[in-house]
Symmetry: C2
Subunit: 426 residues, 2 copies
Amino acid sequence: VPTDATHAPGLKSWVQGANAPGCDFPIQNLPHGVFSPAGASPRGGIAIGDQVLDVAAAVAAGKLRGAAAEAAAAPSLNGLMAMGRGAALEIRAAVSALLAEGAEPLPHLLHPISAVTMHLPTTVRNFSDFMASRPHCYRLGVKRDANNPLPPAFHHLPVAYHSRASSVRVSGTPLRRPWGQYPKGDSVVFAPTEAMDFELELAVWIAGENELGSPTPISLADSRLFGFGLLNDWSVRDVQRYEMPPLGPFLGKSVMTAVSPWVITAAAMEPFMVAQPPREEGDPPCPAHLASTRPDALNLQMRAAILTPKLRQAGAAPHIVTDTPFAPMSWTPAQMVAHHTSNGCNLLPGDLLGSGTVSGPEDGQEACIAELLLRGPMQFPNGETRRFLEDGDEVVFTAQASAPGATTIGFGECRGEVIPAHASVT
Amino acid sequence: VPTDATHAPGLKSWVQGANAPGCDFPIQNLPHGVFSPAGASPRGGIAIGDQVLDVAAAVAAGKLRGAAAEAAAAPSLNGLMAMGRGAALEIRAAVSALLAEGAEPLPHLLHPISAVTMHLPTTVRNFSDFMASRPHCYRLGVKRDANNPLPPAFHHLPVAYHSRASSVRVSGTPLRRPWGQYPKGDSVVFAPTEAMDFELELAVWIAGENELGSPTPISLADSRLFGFGLLNDWSVRDVQRYEMPPLGPFLGKSVMTAVSPWVITAAAMEPFMVAQPPREEGDPPCPAHLASTRPDALNLQMRAAILTPKLRQAGAAPHIVTDTPFAPMSWTPAQMVAHHTSNGCNLLPGDLLGSGTVSGPEDGQEACIAELLLRGPMQFPNGETRRFLEDGDEVVFTAQASAPGATTIGFGECRGEVIPAHASVT
């Protein structure tokens, strides 16, 4: 695994919070985001410990130079992502040097993360959502066809659908319970949903651009991965089930999709890239145009937790309902890029891919409520139970990447609370 | 039907081409578009006869004034569409007066349409595609389930899916035959498609913006319709059929979607709005949140034609394969907006909706090849036959709106040629 001095486990920062054990944002991470200091306009930042480095201020002060740093200082990261992975590497080296223990402390370039407002990292022009977990497909497909629960194409390609870009929002945005049409009793009603669900997914942020008609081959697909994050593909199950045949999910998915604010760069993930798991026995060989020899899978442990209003009142922590590894997913982000562009479809800088629900085969690795409910209602430590989400419930995602000999890095949080439906729609 | 002096059938223009019988762009039409004169940069224009009025030049010359005119002069119409339908009405009145017979001729503000390059009218941030024709669903659904060919939700809502925004292109852009995965013989191949198809659809351009979480009720839905055009939802049938279950079409639809360059405003369409057809016997009542009392259907006749290389060499016209009315569609554009936003999903100015394939029940009203082939291979006047499209075939869409006592208006063309696949993808 190619790593450089910026990944060295001994490396520490003059920002003390970054050196705390268990911190998501040690100096080995350096994720990009867009933030506003209190009362000020949005600009690019880099998380370090419990602080954010104001990249715009660092550029203005002459501490960071060049086109890549200027793009990283902008109020959306599309420009930086347009410059490709190389630009992120260049900034990473410069910022690592700037923040390393021994360098001149520059506290005036920092803001406490707790005091800033985070924004969506890019203007998301396109959002495509994959379905790369075999256990997820299997658990939800068994109801459709017990003998053949996997989609026919699952073994040959990463199944995906176009989803809605306009409703992508940053972590923290409340989710208004939507109205929708679904069967209830003998009729089809239009009413607030009774099946509000989350899906724990990996966000993939796209670097560079391929012209329409020009596929990005698998050999170059990793160059299109700018970075990663957490994605909550909020799902309205009663609506979704009803509307899906035959064109797929529509209003069941476009209420909102939430992403974590910090873009964990592909460079930061280098120590945590592992070989794709072997294909399942009985599966056909991987098609040549999707076969990679690189370690394209991410060694990432992902968690979903729910904070009910009663848990919140009691001062309790969100209750973890899902704890699942990303690495066993059947298709890697690089394969998603190669498949997506194989027909010539163009991916734009700052476009968003979702991995699909990151469910593993074990109990506790179900990464959405629809799967969790197959074992009965969810049980909370205070005796509460849940089927789907109730108003006031807050969903919190976290993730950590670790590897022997490397400093563990975290993804921060993607969180959102369900708020009550409107009284009426018409 | 409310109309004003700009619709008067007796109204003529000092641009003589606009007064020719059968002209798509008489002074009663005045569609918006974005064009470049030879060697110059893109700017907004309005079609009149065989000419385009340079709106930017008209503003610079003081012949058009105000924020709406400035937005209509811009190199993309998103700003104009953000101002809502009212802005288009204001410009319509001013431009009608400017171009009317008797006004001072201003030939220096015109360019021949044949000498300019047309561009996409907006930066398309989101594209959603509906499936509102019952005959289309029926013909293609019979193969899936002869007893129940319509999707279960079809009777209750306008079925739709999110499609790809980045691959929307203006008429004239060649369509590179894509590679894709599909079953062939006993295996799944990755090869150039053998089932390249078109779908003749209505394009709907969105005005204004609703905040995420705030539906646009059916009573206001027509205010979100800025205008209309022709849309070719290029479809890769072998790929699409294989990939669809259960998440819907993906690479089968993202190769390209083509739109005609001229946006026919909702104002221009006022004389051609008619009552929605009565619901089919046996259908449930229209849900209250989708029920409208306005004349929301479009009295529009749409045609698809194919020009094969041999027909082109012979100097023949494109051969009409489809001639179909829009008005009988089961769901109107206003209902599409009300449904799309009913869960709170936000539609942005300049977003694009497709109506779905505009197929009627009669022979010759099948609006895609997959349907036409149910009657056997397509027959051409020169003896050629076709199953799906071959390299060099060009698909040409046209449409005209007419009504008693109104001047007929046309939509211009949406055309595109299939060019050969790349030799390889990896």
